[in-house]
């Protein structure tokens, strides 16, 4: 029922008469990278593509707000902000963490590396996760990440440092006690 009540105004404001431009080509080119970034942020394919879709809808709608510059950085900015909004809202709900996969038989199998980095990323504060993924996965420069996050470069560097040291601690074995529960 609630779906009926809520306007989808934002989406209907897609401009009908925007000229086909390199703007759209640039957006389309960025989609694979946006999906990759979103997947690593959310660790869920469906949620990730929802985020990307929302980013694209917003970008297309805001074409007139784009005053040149790097479209890719701008798209990462939108996606990062959307993800931050999403997490803020999730933070209000009781945290639901499934423990079942902790006991999954593949815990020592070939998937181990992938799962470990996934869990390590999940432990980070959102801003640190954004910074680290933008740098190591998306190859953005510190300056670009600073623009995306709206903070000074020094803040980006300290987020990066904290992220790396936490991941290292996790991978080195300082794991949450859950691991030992069998």
């Amino acid at each position: 029922m609630p779906g009926v009540f809520f306007p989808e105004w934002l989406c209907c404001r897609l401009h009908r008469s925007v000229p086909v431009s390199s703007f759209r080509t640039d957006i389309e080119t960025a989609v694979p990278a946006l999906r990759r970034y979103a997947r690593a942020l959310t660790r869920n394919a469906e949620t990730a593509d929802d985020l990307v879709q929302e980013t694209l809808v917003r970008a297309l709608r805001s074409e007139h707000l784009f005053h040149g510059g790097e479209i890719r950085s701008w798209l990462f900015t939108i996606l990062t902000n959307l993800n931050r909004n999403r997490l803020r809202s999730l933070a209000r709900r009781p945290s639901v963490v499934s423990l079942t996969d902790q006991d999954a038989p593949d815990a020592s199998g070939p998937e181990l590396g992938g799962r470990d980095i996934e869990r390590a990323l999940a432990l980070l504060v959102e801003d640190q996760r954004h910074a680290l993924l933008l740098v190591v996965l998306e190859g953005l420069s510190y300056r670009e990440v600073a623009e995306v996050q709206g903070v000074p470069i020094g803040t980006v560097m300290s987020r990066l440092a904290r992220a790396r040291s936490q991941i290292k601690a996790y991978l080195d074995g300082e794991r949450p006690a859950l691991r030992r529960i069998k």
Partner: protein
């Protein structure tokens, strides 16, 4: 030849790994690593992390992009939503009517503590900034937005113009608040998707000037004017949020006493930082 013996900082180690180190420091860092195995191990660990991350997620970029994420599809959907929007406008009136009716019998309730007011504003902010396609009930362009919300809340409301801060009014919605009365929520958005909300409801708490509260990565500036409480919520940047709130406050006050504008307040900042 002089060797640069300046100790290498941890920041430089990160910059080295990320290819951000100025050329004239590369040799120094390399020399440093040769004689500092702990730091060399640290760098190796960071590189391994990066490789793990790329190994885990890199392939996503080579996947076929799902059809729903193609621009052709996204542009085509522009028309389909119009019918839903029309239905939603009707829905907005229904919701508004119910909330207004609920508020009818409860107007004589005890004064609300302002802490509760702030909490309600924060809850509303958190709930609705997450809504991407339908964060509001009635959009900014609709002529009935302000009359409708003013009538329901029981006070003349105004959505301040925050364009000088790069914020566009998306629209507003009606919410139930404590004791069943009605509150209005206006939502603003920046070009990069940051959202601010202005929450307004009747509040008998005396006059009060701007007060800043920060909690769990969210900040609120609230004030009370003519028995209406306002709470502006947004990212926790005190200077910026207070500037925006000050501008909103001034605009409301200006409406109450037209022709008597004074904007010498140093808190008003027109910069978009």
């Amino acid at each position: 030849m002089m060797t640069d013996n300046t100790p290498v900082t941890e920041e430089e180690l990160h910059a080295f790994v990320d290819g951000e180190l100025p050329d004239d420091r590369k040799a120094a860092v390399e020399a440093w690593l040769a004689s500092h195995p702990d730091d060399a191990a640290l760098i190796a660990a960071w590189r391994t992390q990066a490789e793990m991350i790329r190994a885990r997620y890199g392939a996503v970029a080579s996947e076929q992009v799902p059809e729903r994420l193609t621009l052709a599809r996204l542009m085509r959907n522009g028309g389909r939503w119009k019918g839903i929007a029309a239905a939603a406008a009707i829905g907005a009136f229904l919701v508004g009517g119910v909330a207004g009716w609920m508020g009818h019998g409860a107007s004589a309730a005890a004064p609300e503590p302002s802490a509760q007011f702030i909490e309600q504003a924060m809850n509303a902010h958190r709930l609705y900034i997450n809504e991407v396609r339908h964060p509001i009930e009635v959009r900014a362009g609709e002529a009935h937005l302000l009359p409708w919300l003013s009538r329901r809340v029981g006070a003349t409301l105004r959505a301040p113009d925050l364009a000088s801060f790069g914020l566009t009014l998306l629209g507003g919605r009606l919410l139930p608040c404590q004791s069943g009365a009605a509150a209005a929520l206006f939502m603003y958005e920046s070009g990069s998707g940051e959202r601010f909300t202005l929450y307004a409801a009747r509040l008998k708490d005396g006059q009060s000037s701007l007060r800043y509260t920060e909690n769990n990565n969210l900040a609120v500036v609230r004030w009370v004017e003519s028995d209406v409480g306002y709470a502006l919520s947004g990212p926790p940047d005190k200077t910026r949020l207070k500037s925006i709130a000050r501008s909103a406050y001034d605009q409301m006050e200006n409406r109450a006493a037209p022709g008597n504008r004074s904007s010498n307040d140093p808190l008003i900042s027109r910069t978009k930082s």
